[in-house]
Amino acid sequence: MILFEKTLLYSTVAVYLFITLAPLMWVLSTSFKPNEEAISFPPKFLPDNPTLDNYLFVLTDPKLVTSLFNSLLVSIASTALSVAVSALGGYAFARFEFKGKNLLMSTIMGLFMIPVVINIIPLYIMLANVGLLNSLLALILTFQILIIPLNIFLLKNYFETIPKELEEAALIDGCSRLRALWHIIVPISMPGFLIAGILSFRFSWNEFVLPIVLSNKPDVMLFQVALYQFISLYRIDWGYLTAGINIALIPVVVLMLFFQKRMIRGLTLGAVRG
């Protein structure tokens, strides 16, 4: 019975592990093949003539390179902005009792569930009217709606695990709330900030709906959109495209793998206390 159970467990895991990794491995292998080999049939699992040409092509195409820098800039800026404002907000929720607190918190979490697609039309018209269409600033600002609610939730839960006494001593000594937050809470909340930051980066880096609508001019394009245009404009060159895919994957996958243990713990903490 126990043996049967074990076999069942491990084979379930093995099957899904294959489903998870096989597509990635296939894309990885294709990215090192010359273009004609990439679509050869029957497919070759490993490249016959491995080459870095696909990567060189992507990394020297001026449009794609610009978009790569734009993506990095927008993701880092929107992560920083959202973590900063969510820290203030999360701190208010964690340390104060005020009118409408619960209502406000559930409204914020409810808003998080509203998908951004629904808002793209009004956002487009609104940004067109204030002249912010096709600007990186518009992306940084609109990306906030994807991540602020989650960050407030995570950071509020993190702050609540920190004993109040730590700041109280400082407050009695005449320290202001903001200074207490900055000098006492922030330094010991780094694990919480790390999780919020990684998740924010992941959401910003991967976002496609907002940038394809709000900024599709070459100089303000993001990488995911540039890749999409890349396949729609030319015939699909799978060698180039798979190389682009892997470049897009590197930052988030590395971050996630590197910090996954803390991630699960952090999310669990948030979930349990939420």
């Binding site: 592990l17 296939w26 208010a92 509203i114 793209i120 600002l141 897009a248 793998l257 979930a271």
Partner: protein
């Protein structure tokens, strides 16, 4: 006295930056959507001078067979996606919670697809599912099976999308339910075991009831994400062949940004907000009644 008053204001001041961003870019557009849906706004009249047209945008939608078709496609896509992701996610979360060697490493590997963007998932699967040179059909051929027209058969294409969405979305359910499982005190299982409960019994009588709040939120989130899912579909099929994989969210996008009918898109968006709300509240009621 003054100090007391600023004390009271403090939490609101701390919340001000976050709230003003959310109000400007989330709440305002959401409400403004209603206004737009009863006016005539197109890409050419975007800067103002909008005519009030009453419910014309909505009646146009009502008589548009493509919109009806998109609702049907959405129904299949959402139903399939949610059922599969929830089932597979639950099985994996529970399996990984057993005493399995390397379960932490496995969790890390299972998360990867969720870190991959929907667009990238779409590209990858478009390649793998390719009718003529795709590796999947090659694999089927090697096993003696007939190749499937994954992306060009109108009857199959939605399910192809469901599979790609499963790959991309299931890890979220795994993480989320794992968080739920972690929150259950292991002593509860111990007590049940001593009382002679089998593993299957303790799953149905302990795990499931205790997981209920997690299951509810998980179902609401994956349902909404599926209803509004659109980037992966745009990349993989662009709604085709014909309209066979145009979900309502893709329909809305195309009305607005391909045909320039912004207010017709807004009306479709309004209907989708309604669908989202109805679904969320039905889940909540369903879970409360039990």
């Amino acid at each position: 006295m003054l100090q007391l008053r600023t004390q009271k204001l403090q939490p609101y001041l701390l919340l001000l930056p976050a709230l003003s961003i959310l109000i400007a870019f989330l709440l305002f557009p959401l409400i403004w959507n209603i206004y737009l849906s009863v006016h005539d706004v197109s890409l050419t009249t975007i800067l103002g001078g909008w005519k009030y047209v009453g419910i014309k945008n909505f009646s146009n939608l009502l008589y548009d067979p493509d919109f009806h078709k998109s609702l049907q496609v959405s129904l299949v896509f959402v139903g399939g996606s949610v059922a599969i992701q929830f089932f597979v996610g639950m099985v994996l979360a529970v399996v990984l919670n057993q005493e399995i060697r390397g379960s932490n490493t496995l969790r890390a590997l299972f998360i990867i697809p969720w870190t991959v963007s929907a667009v990238i998932t779409g590209f990858s699967f478009k390649f793998i599912f390719n009718d003529s040179f795709g590796v999947l059909n090659y694999g089927l051929g090697q096993m003696g099976l007939n190749p499937v027209a994954w992306l060009s058969d109108p009857g199959t294409v939605v399910w192809t999308l469901v599979i790609a969405n499963m790959w991309h979305g299931t890890p979220f359910t795994v993480i989320f339910l794992t968080a739920g499982l972690f929150s259950i005190n292991p002593l509860v299982y111990e007590a049940a075991r001593i009382d002679g409960a089998t593993k299957i019994k303790s799953f149905f009588y302990i795990t499931l009831p205790l997981l209920r709040p997690f299951i509810l939120i998980n179902l609401i989130l994956i349902t909404m994400w599926s209803v509004n899912f659109f980037d992966l579909i745009l990349v993989m099929t662009n709604g085709g062949p014909l309209f066979s994989s145009t979900t309502s969210s893709l329909y809305m996008y195309r009305q607005a940004f391909e045909f320039g009918l912004l207010s017709k898109g807004a009306a479709a968006g309004f209907i989708m907000i309604g669908i989202n709300l109805i679904l969320a509240f039905s889940y909540i009621r369903l879970f409360r009644r039990q």
